[in-house]
Amino acid sequence: MFSDTDEVVARFAQAGYIADHQLAALTFLSVRLGKPMLLEGEPGVGKTEVAKVLAKILGTELIRMQCYEGLDTHHALYEWNYLRQMIEVRLEEARGVAKEEIGRNIFSTEFLLKRPLLQAIQSEGELPPVLLIDEVDRSDEEFEAFLLEVLSDFQITIPELGTIKATRKPFVVLTSNRTRELHDALKRRCLYHWINYPKFEKELAIVRAKVPGIDESLARQICYFVERLRELDFYKRAGVAETLDWAQALLFLGVAELDATIVDSTMGCILKSKDDLEKFKTLDLAKLVADAKQQKP
């Protein structure tokens, strides 16, 4: 795996993810200590991407569980395939199989629907899988408590089958947009990192890495412009994902450098609410564009 944090930075960079020292240290320690990492930050700063890149670097499977309100054990852990079980019961009855026998048959792994957590625990790859628990702040309290239990023991009890224990701990990545504060008990079990909006140089590096073929001066203008926009008071500020979308769009349109018309017509890549777009219209666009061209502080 990794020998030190610098290696993490280098290998993330190879995979196209620009990680700072903090994030690299987090990843390194999380892998070494076998503790889950909890990434918080504004939407679109690359939290989910960390898990994807980690799986890619380690060459292991990525198991993703998207959280939502009302997510329960049947969707996170396992569920019996009731429809198949019912059909099987009918078939076996018709064949005259003994009742006890049927009971045993229909509660076997064949009729078990494995959900992400069970998959992660039972995974049999060379290295343990990366388990991404995405947007954990969207799940409810009950689920968080349940998650706590799974993350501490990595074992699951299915009454009909017995206890299944993970032979190796998966690498766990939790992300949160912080729509609510997570419970302290869950946080304590994780290594924590807050991913901030990147500084100009870092964002530029990301654009270069993710949008190959983009002109250097255009990339600088884009990053500068987005950075200025973030300083303004919009309801939803642009994430890195938005910067990349915009850069892609401008590249696709064959734009050589920013001008007011182009910026105005492509703003939908950056600002995604009606109020923000209306507010944007009140700005002095010509001046912003001119500043971006001169990179004036």
């Binding site: 020292h21 240290a25 309100e69 019912m86 901030n196």
Partner: protein, 368 residues
């Protein structure tokens, strides 16, 4: 261990389990490297964005106090300090915007609507006559009913549901013959919101507090999970008193028990008292806390800030209902309110029935 003490001194609480993690992580890194040591401490010991600055500061002081020559402080490339400042001021501004929007909207409605009910909806609560009060109560009741029957996203067996409940069907199946299997259904469980209302009953709120208590009373009867506290100079939880069926008798009891009715205000102190003594019992992660107050505060602003910050962390949403917000040209100028704006999710007017309807609607929304 000295490092841990340094952290405590700067107001960060360090959990023993995390301290062990930190020590374990030191085995994997080069502890004479400032970058690595800093990063290891940061990921293991801090669990909240707001604490990152404090940690960085404590770390810098600690590191500089030890004899190892410090590297130039460029390691803070993320600029945690600027970040959180930026965030909070941005938040303040959005709050202020919501405020402006709210007042705008109110004026619009005022100009266009008509009819006796509508007029009643807009009358200032402090100026209602007895007859109007009775009508207002009836309207309140229907409003509260609507609030109480929200469906959650978890399912329970229910014959009028729209989803097949296979779990239950399979279980029944073993008793009946398969040919006459009945279809069994499930639907979403009703999820009643958990609310905590803290009502300011100081002199400046006199005209409103009685009606707001009645609003609470109406809520209390339909939602079992409502906790109610009143405060002026000290916090009193009156949930039990409101179990009385008759609203007037309940209010009489409240007046008897609560000694500081109509006195001065110490919002910060009272909220602090709530945090220390009552929050553990009545607050869960999904609780919505509503503060009813005009924000005239005679206490320490610093104390109010601290109390609100603590409270905000514990609850799902923090709302502030302010009767003064209904007045034209009102600006949230007094220190209490200005401090509060940084921590609360929404500041809403609560001077007439119409605004209470809005409040009920918002409560439903935040619940989702």
């Amino acid at each position: 261990m000295r490092f841990e003490q340094a952290l405590r001194a700067s107001g960060l609480s360090v959990n023993p389990a995390n301290l062990i993690d930190f020590c374990q992580s030191l085995e994997h890194i080069n502890i004479t490297n400032r970058h690595d040591f800093h990063a290891a401490g940061r990921v293991t010991l801090v669990h909240r964005q707001e604490d990152l600055d404090r940690f960085d500061e404590a770390f810098r002081r600690f590191w500089e106090a030890t004899d190892i020559p410090a590297e130039p402080p460029d390691f803070q490339q993320d600029g945690a300090g600027e970040k959180s400042d930026g965030d909070s001021s941005a938040q303040g501004q959005t709050q202020a915007e919501t405020l402006l929007e709210l007042t705008d909207e109110n004026e619009d409605v005022g100009a266009t609507s008509y009819g006796s009910q509508e007029i009643l909806m807009q009358r200032d609560l402090a100026a209602l006559t007895d007859a109007e009060l009775a009508q207002a109560r009836r309207m309140l009741a229907s409003l509260v009913d609507a609030l109480a029957s929200e469906r959650g996203r978890r399912y329970a067996s229910n014959d009028r549901g729209s989803r097949l409940d296979f779990r239950r069907m399979l279980r029944r199946h073993s008793l009946h013959s398969p040919e006459c299997m009945r279809l069994l259904f499930k639907r979403e469980k009703i999820q009643k919101p958990r609310l905590v209302l803290l009502c300011d009953i100081s002199g400046s709120m006199e005209g409103y507090s009685r009606f707001l208590i009645e609003f609470i009373f109406a809520l209390r009867r339909t939602l079992p999970k409502v906790e109610v506290g009143v405060f002026a100079t000290r916090m009193t939880m009156i949930t039990r008193l409101l179990e009385e069926r008759n609203v007037d008798r309940a209010l009489a009891q409240v007046t008897q028990k609560v000694r500081d009715w109509g006195g001065g205000t110490d919002i910060g102190g009272c909220l602090g008292e709530f945090n220390d003594y009552y929050a553990g019992k009545v607050v869960r992660a999904k609780t919505v806390v509503v503060i009813l107050s005009d924000g005239w505060d005679c206490g320490e602003p610093q104390q109010l800030r601290l109390a609100l910050e603590q409270l905000r962390r514990r609850v799902h949403r923090l709302l502030w209902l302010n009767p003064l917000l209904g007045g034209e040209g009102y600006q949230p100028l007094c220190t209490g309110i200005r401090t509060a704006l940084r921590y609360i999710d929404e500041m809403l007017p609560a001077h007439n029935l119409e605004s209470l309807v809005r409040v009920a609607r918002i409560l439903r929304e935040v619940w989702r």
